[in-house]
């Protein structure tokens, strides 16, 4: 029993990270119908930004203040990067077909990855440990570590913050209006470009937070760390219903748990732990075949 609880904790942990990244995907898709392929790489940019902030400020040992600075610093940097991408890569192609925007997104993703590899090298780097990592025993063998608790606390806090922004502020209402129908929102006088930029900033900040939190938990960062994680987070967004914010969270947690359960228990039914990445894609295929709108999504009829 304690093993099951442990695996559950492990799964919810990586699930929370997927959820943070998935939120960015789902928000951007909601307003632009664009799959921002580069979003997973923003997660990586956030982790690297945090790394350089920590190193430049000379942080080496555990420090709560340091963690806060690194977290918010990286979120700010990522927000800027996200906005720049939107402004210079996506806005000019918005008028073209979906395929064009998708290819552009792929291009941005490749650009970020290879730029970082060329400049910083493909080797992993150790992220400074800003947290004294202790394991707290729960019962039996089950334990939860400080960094895991941090991930839960921060991601829940950020998600609550996001909900508040979306449902209780004017900006959030504008975002919802734009995602409902971009042209009507424009007619209503909403500055859609500004809202779109803001959405990118918000999503990127969340992804960056995910990056820094992960770096505390698995302290090796490298320029290609965002590829698989980003793809799985996208699957999470689709699973929950793309465009749907609680759906992204639900999807993220589900994928995290499913993946960990397969790794931990799959051996007994012949599924090697190296099938881990296939879990997310298998779920994706199932969702697309059985319920493409996702768990919490609504089906949209295509009008002629």
């Amino acid at each position: 029993m304690d093993t099951f609880v442990q695996q559950l904790i492990n799964g919810l942990n990586i699930g929370a990270i997927y959820a943070l990244i998935a939120l960015g995907y789902t928000m951007v898709y909601g307003i632009l119908r664009l799959i921002n392929f580069a979003h997973g790489d923003i997660y990586m940019v956030g982790a690297f930004a945090g790394y350089f902030i920590a190193v430049k400020a000379g942080m080496a040992g555990p420090s709560w203040g340091g963690l806060v600075v690194v977290l918010f610093g990286s979120m700010a940097v990522a927000a800027l990067v996200g906005m720049a991408i939107e402004r210079f890569a996506y806005r000019p192609v918005r008028k073209y077909s979906r395929m064009t925007t998708l290819i552009t997104a792929i291009g941005v993703s490749l650009l970020l990855e290879n730029l970082f590899v060329a400049v910083f090298g493909g080797q992993g780097r150790g992220f400074p440990q800003l947290l004294q990592d202790n394991a707290y025993h729960l019962f039996g063998n089950a334990a939860i570590s400080k960094s895991q608790i941090l991930i839960f606390v921060v991601s829940i806090a950020l998600m609550v913050l996001l909900q508040w922004i979306i449902f209780r502020t004017k900006v959030g209402t504008a975002m919802r209006a734009v995602s409902f129908n971009l042209n009507s929102a424009k007619l209503m006088g909403i500055n859609t470009n500004a809202i779109i930029t803001f959405t990118f900033a918000l999503g990127s900040a969340l992804a960056a937070a995910g990056g820094v939190l992960t770096a505390q938990y698995s302290p090796t960062i490298d320029p290609l760390m965002g590829i698989t994680t980003g793809l799985k987070a996208f699957v999470a967004a689709v699973l929950g219903g793309i465009g749907n914010i609680p759906g992204a969270v639900l999807g993220g947690l589900l994928i995290g748990v499913a993946e960990t359960m397969v790794v931990g228990y799959g051996g007994s039914i012949g599924i090697a732990s190296t099938y881990r990445d296939a879990v997310a894609f298998a779920i994706l295929i199932l969702v697309l075949l059985l319920r493409p709108s996702g768990i919490l999504g609504t089906t949209v009829q295509e009008k002629v």
């Binding site: 073209y96 650009l111 290879n114 730029l115 099938y275």
Partner: protein, 383 residues
């Protein structure tokens, strides 16, 4: 009758050219004229890339379906054909060698395993295509990506084909595991592939796809690309056409895979979705509705990095960054790629398919929404 003779002559001429080129590229050269082996590898890769790009163009460029998992079918082709070679055809080849000699036997066996690869990939294309092609644009893209990744992960986990460290054709023999076929004096996965075969299949791919595109079926595909609902309303069985073109496209990817697998032994690291993106770059660069465009795109993507390697400084290390930038800039400025929807130089062979200005395969706005036009009009009025 005359056109038939003409076609036969042209075919023979092409075969002769390929054969000569192959000799040039091989170790002995042709009349003392040879190509350095390192460059031969590049030309072989270019040929394989051409097959991949042209076949992907059929489904992405001409049918307008966004598949980004093409490499998965290449992987299936590579692994199924080498699997057949290692476990099934060795005895056949030995027997045939006694009958018709080593070269002909190798050719027969190789043709056979290539067909096996193509068939396996085609079946995979059917399995992937039928459920996925129901989906709309972006979802289809992600579904194909997902399938390609699943294929790769399954290969990584299958020890019979070498798993994560690649397939070297090592079989259990009397004295342990061996990767060398003593009786034939070569590796158990023989390097059948040479420039002749690659060139031959590249030509076949181009000819087949060209004929499809210029037939009635091709026009149906293009109509699906332009406006699927309208095509459906006009009575075109869109599902059947989409699936068929997907299967054909996958089959050729399988051929490319079989050729690759018997040259560079199959390794899952060669079939990541990064490679899928590379093929996409090829067809985008060249122009998504253009076969000559895909050929050009494939050549550029194959040779550009090597040219960059010659440049001083660390430019070579930034080549992937340059690609990515190139891709983005092309999408922003000229999304129809180098050739747009047009073919190069065929106007004096056949009647050219010139698409009307502004209706590039990718990049034209798909109709202006009414509201936007109204807003613009209002803005003009305000000013």
């Amino acid at each position: 009758m005359l056109s038939f003779i003409k076609r036969v002559l042209v075919t023979l001429a092409i075969l002769a050219v390929l054969y000569a080129l192959n000799l040039v590229m091989s170790k002995q050269g042709l009349f003392g004229f040879g190509v350095p082996l390192y460059q031969v590898d590049l030309w072989k890769m270019a040929g394989i890339n051409i097959i991949l790009a042209v076949s992907l163009n059929l489904i992405n460029g001409f049918t307008g379906q966004f598949s980004i998992g093409h490499i998965g079918f290449m992987a299936i082709g590579a692994y199924s054909s080498t699997f057949a070679t290692v476990y099934y055809t060795q005895g056949l080849e030995r027997w045939l060698t006694g009958v018709v000699g080593a070269d002909v036997a190798a050719a027969i066996v190789f043709t056979f395993v290539i067909l096996v690869g193509a068939l396996a990939a085609a079946i995979a294309g059917l399995v992937v295509g039928i459920p996925s092609l129901r989906l709309r644009g972006d979802y289809l893209a992600i579904a194909t990506l997902g399938f390609a990744e699943i294929i790769r992960i399954i290969i990584v986990n299958t020890n019979r084909v070498g798993g994560a460290t690649g397939f070297r054709g090592c079989v259990d023999s009397a004295n342990g595991v061996t990767c060398i076929d003593e009786s034939m004096g070569r590796l158990t996965i023989p390097a059948y592939t040479n420039f002749f075969w690659i060139g031959l299949f590249a030509v076949i791919t181009i000819v087949v796809i060209y004929n499809i595109v210029n037939s009635d079926a091709g026009r149906a595909l293009i109509s699906i690309r332009e406006d699927e609902l309208a095509a459906q309303a006009m009575g075109v069985n869109t599902t059947r056409y989409k699936v068929t073109s997907f299967v054909i496209s996958s089959a050729f990817a399988g051929v490319a895979g079989a050729l690759y697998g018997h040259w560079r032994l199959p390794h899952p690291g060669d079939f990541t979705f990064g490679r899928s993106f590379e093929i996409i770059i090829m067809i985008v660069l060249g122009g998504m509705g253009s076969i000559t465009g895909s050929v050009l795109g494939a050549l550029v993507v194959t040779f550009l990095p090597e040219l960059l390697r010659q440049l001083p400084g660390g430019v070579y290390n930034y080549r992937l960054v340059i690609y990515a930038l190139l891709l983005i800039i092309i999408m922003i400025t000229r999304p129809q790629g180098m050739l747009g929807g047009r073919e190069f130089g065929l106007s004096w062979l056949k009647r050219s398919r010139r698409l009307p200005e502004g209706t590039a395969a990718v990049g034209a706005s798909k109709g202006v929404p009414v509201a936007e036009a109204t807003v613009r009009a209002e803005k003009d009025v305000e000013n």
